[in-house]
Symmetry: C2
Subunit: 257 residues, 2 copies
Amino acid sequence: MLIGKVVNTNANWLAKKITEIGGFVRRITDVRDDLSEISSAVREALKRGTEWIITSGGLGPTFDDMTLNGVAKAIKRPLKLNKQAYQMLLEKYKEMFERGILKSLDITPERRKMAELPAGAIPLRNRVGTAPGVLIKFGRQRIACLPGVPAELMDIFENELLPIIQKSIKRVYTTERVLIAKDVIESALAPVIKEAMSKHPEVYIKSHPKGRESGVSIIELHITATAKSSERIEKEMEQVVQELKEKIVALGGTAEQ
Amino acid sequence: MLIGKVVNTNANWLAKKITEIGGFVRRITDVRDDLSEISSAVREALKRGTEWIITSGGLGPTFDDMTLNGVAKAIKRPLKLNKQAYQMLLEKYKEMFERGILKSLDITPERRKMAELPAGAIPLRNRVGTAPGVLIKFGRQRIACLPGVPAELMDIFENELLPIIQKSIKRVYTTERVLIAKDVIESALAPVIKEAMSKHPEVYIKSHPKGRESGVSIIELHITATAKSSERIEKEMEQVVQELKEKIVALGGTAEQ
């Protein structure tokens, strides 16, 4: 990410999943494979009172896989060989050896490293790859470390982590709509959005100016409504969309859904 | 980004540009349109001693465009109407009015807001959109605020910011190579990478496991070398690539460039 070669699709996927179950993603941070950068990012997030910190990448066998080291440093716990994680690794290597993918069953320092977790951590089974995911309880805060390979990250998140996270999130209903406003510029639309949001406190409207198409300004409005009853929220949303459409037309523009 | 709808392509584009001119991107942070989140992210980056902090988005006229507010809070400076920025806005609105895009020339509070910059800031001309970019000197540190619309961000970065940033970066030569290792698993490759890097201190090797293709493990090696002479660096790179290839073959794998 930090040299512009890779887009952080893992963060995007995680943010979408967490939002879908009613969670609130506060921040996404990309850091280098650098011990002090990783630990300072984790420490800052803990200090802000973040309930769940999810890391991706850096769990593998190479020297620059140092996420667990960075997390251990941030929470001031030593790295220790975790028996359960070690067992998971042994099973993986045995299977790979039997299928002929692995030439030797030696547990080299590089392989052993993947089972060295911060003291008190719980390994999360990786059905796709080798390195297990990691769950750490730190007071009332939680740190989950997932691999960077997308298929492995998705597998551990869906099968191991999601059930645990879901328990800690209160159930809410969310509905969304997108409205395309044409021929009205953003500064004219701004007071309309402000008014709609103050009238409907459960509704959040974000405007995304999409530039111009042959001289016509195009603005995408993302409308989100959140409440405890699904019925009520749909009704509210319908009303907001109608009001916005009327206002946009009154400003001389057009509104499409 | 934080709800998984948008991928942060702006950050990626900026990281690529900055790396190309020899800069070092230390961290990428996505925050919500929330005043205290924005100011805490800026404050944390200043505290870490970051030389250049570049923000994108949140310069427009709507209520949730609050980047300048957040930055002002972080550096404890008031927002003030900046005459130069106001002049830039007036020119834009006049032009839009004359082309019939704008129905009125009124400088509403929403429009005026885009010219209210932290005290002492320098506006950066936006040739594509309305809101000017902003450059702030904070001791020896610099904060640049760019719009979120990619075409506007790119325009201001290339034409206004890049010349200033380039002056503050020492010239270095960088060369890159990608090597695809097949049929060798990452934990077997790890000591080979470690050895190559300790033998060639100007070289950095990052391994990206790409999963399996019909049972064959595939690992992409990104090799970067940095030095002050372009000739020397190419020679060094050639040598590293040759050594890696031989080692991969010795491990029973194949290596392709």
